[in-house]
């Protein structure tokens, strides 16, 4: 490691021993890292020093570390997944920050995402919504000849864009209303746009919205903070589609 590349940051991190425990910020000063080190690796480095000192390491969620699994979270300097747009926390590098900067790291804060420990929150609520209807229940058979079911490029692209949602929870974490609408709308859209998914679209929209409401997520007031912070740039037009699907389904009942 060339010395000129070393940078130091102060990490102000939320520490909380357990779900019922009272948490507080602890500032770790002069954590040594480099601009090309990822944010999570910087936390790893800090954790190693904590372990060496016999202290509890900071608990945070992560898995793939390449932006596809949706496990990483963290609310960094006022933004879920940090200041970068269209990127997850695991794709965030220290070059985004200034040498000597104090970086505030908080867990997702939403009533439906209770803290488990430190920066790790329980995002089981999103799994429950997905399980309520985010699938196709019948057998669609094996892979078809691509020409057998014609789908326009436009629709295919839109469905693919919706399907890139990784279920990370940043949308609800960013929302002042604690609303899960961006996630639910992406999951409803990715299927509603395509022929096999369309068959159960109405029932799916009703079931997933009912679960979302039951779990205590808020009412969307279209602030758009979710889409602005979403690491996958899921668009607000998905929410309009969900509203449409849901309202049409209810009026038909």
């Amino acid at each position: 490691m060339a010395t000129e590349n070393i940078m130091r940051v102060n990490l102000k991190v939320w520490r909380q021993a357990g779900p019922k425990e009272k948490g507080a910020f602890v500032t770790y000063e002069n954590v040594e890292t480099t601009p090309d080190t990822s944010f999570l690796e910087t936390l790893d480095i800090l954790n190693e020093t904590l372990v060496e000192k016999g202290e509890e390491p900071i608990v945070f969620d992560h898995d793939c570390r390449e932006g596809i699994c949706g496990m990483c979270s963290l609310y960094i300097n006022g933004h879920p997944h940090g200041p970068a747009t269209g990127a997850t926390t695991c794709q965030l590098y220290m070059r985004r920050f200034k040498n000597g900067e104090t970086i505030t790291v908080e867990p997702w804060r939403s009533a439906a995402f209770p803290v488990i420990k430190d920066l790790m929150v329980n995002r089981n609520a999103y799994d429950q919504i997905q399980q309520a209807g985010g699938y196709v229940s019948f057998n669609c058979g094996g892979a078809q000849d691509a020409n057998a079911i014609p789908i326009s490029k436009e629709i295919a692209d839109e469905a693919m864009d919706s399907a890139t949602c990784i279920g990370c929870g940043a949308c609800a974490a960013a929302c002042k209303n604690g609303s899960a609408m961006l996630f639910v709308s992406a999951k409803v859209s990715q299927l509603a746009l395509l022929p096999q998914g369309k068959v159960e679209a109405a029932a799916r929209a009703k079931a997933m919205v009912a679960k979302m409401d039951e779990l205590g997520f808020g009412n969307c007031t279209n602030t758009g903070a979710c889409a602005a912070e979403c690491p996958k740039n899921i668009s607000l037009s998905n929410i309009a589609r969900l509203n449409r699907e849901f309202l049409c389904a209810k009026f038909k009942d």
Binding site: R109, A111, M212, N219, A225, N243, F246
Partner: protein
């Protein structure tokens, strides 16, 4: 339909958006009517007469009041539920992304400003016009000579600079409420897509500007008139 307008989040938003757009429609008529006062006091007073204490106007007033009440009750319920969904633990650092409009996060506060203004406004006009007519119909001994002289009350109200300032503040709040509310209502009803997204937003802002501008012109015009006449 099993009461989804009460017990589902999207159903509640539908009520919010329909009542909101209904109020926008009302404001559109109200603004057009006010513009008439700029040109002719007699014509304006004729409209006032037409909208006096007759059954059509009374039913209209009742429906309008219901629109306001439902919009406000739902606004309160939604806001309370949303605060609960957010939880008790707040973020230490918050930073509003550039694309998030300030108005969208302060709809209730803007609504409360509009509501306080509404009380003042009813006191300035309705209480001196339709209400007096109603009292008269109920047999109370009141002076009804002025109940359709809206033009007089406009001049009286806007000769007072305090009222002018209060009305303009309320109109600003209304502009912000609608700059978000208009497109938000269409989005809530599901009438939006990628192509129309920015168009709907811009239409909403242009519409809010025309609406609020129309009201503001009347306030300012009568204030200027009062200054000229006084001089």
């Amino acid at each position: 339909m099993n009461l989804f307008i009460l017990n589902s989040s999207i159903g509640r938003k539908l009520v919010m958006s329909i009542t909101g757009l209904f109020l926008v429609l009302f404001l559109t008529f109200h603004m057009c009517m006010n513009i008439v006062a700029l040109f002719s006091a007699e014509a304006y007073n004729m409209i006032c007469e037409f909208l006096g204490a007759n059954w059509y106007a009374l039913v209209g007033t009742a429906v309008l009041a219901a629109g306001f009440i439902i919009h406000i009750i739902y606004a309160l319920v939604l806001t309370i539920q949303n605060r609960k969904a957010r939880g008790n633990d707040r973020y230490e650092v918050t930073s509003r992304p550039k694309s998030v409009e300030w108005a969208s996060q302060n709809m209730l506060a803007l609504g409360v400003v509009i509501l306080s203004f509404l009380a003042l406004h009813l006191y300035h006009f309705w209480a001196k016009m339709q209400l007096v007519e109603l009292q008269h119909m109920a047999g109370t001994n009141v002076d009804t000579s002025m109940v359709t002289n809206g033009a007089y009350y406009i001049q009286q109200t806007f000769s007072n600079p305090v009222n002018v300032v209060l009305y303009l503040i309320a109109l600003c709040a209304l502009w912000f409420h609608l700059s978000h509310g208009f497109w938000s209502a269409l989005q809530s009803m599901g009438l939006d897509n990628k192509t129309w997204f920015n168009r709907v937003k811009n239409i909403g802002i242009v519409y809010a500007t025309i609406l609020v501008g129309g009201f503001a012109i009347v306030v300012i015009a009568f204030f200027i008139k009062s200054l000229c006449c006084a001089a």
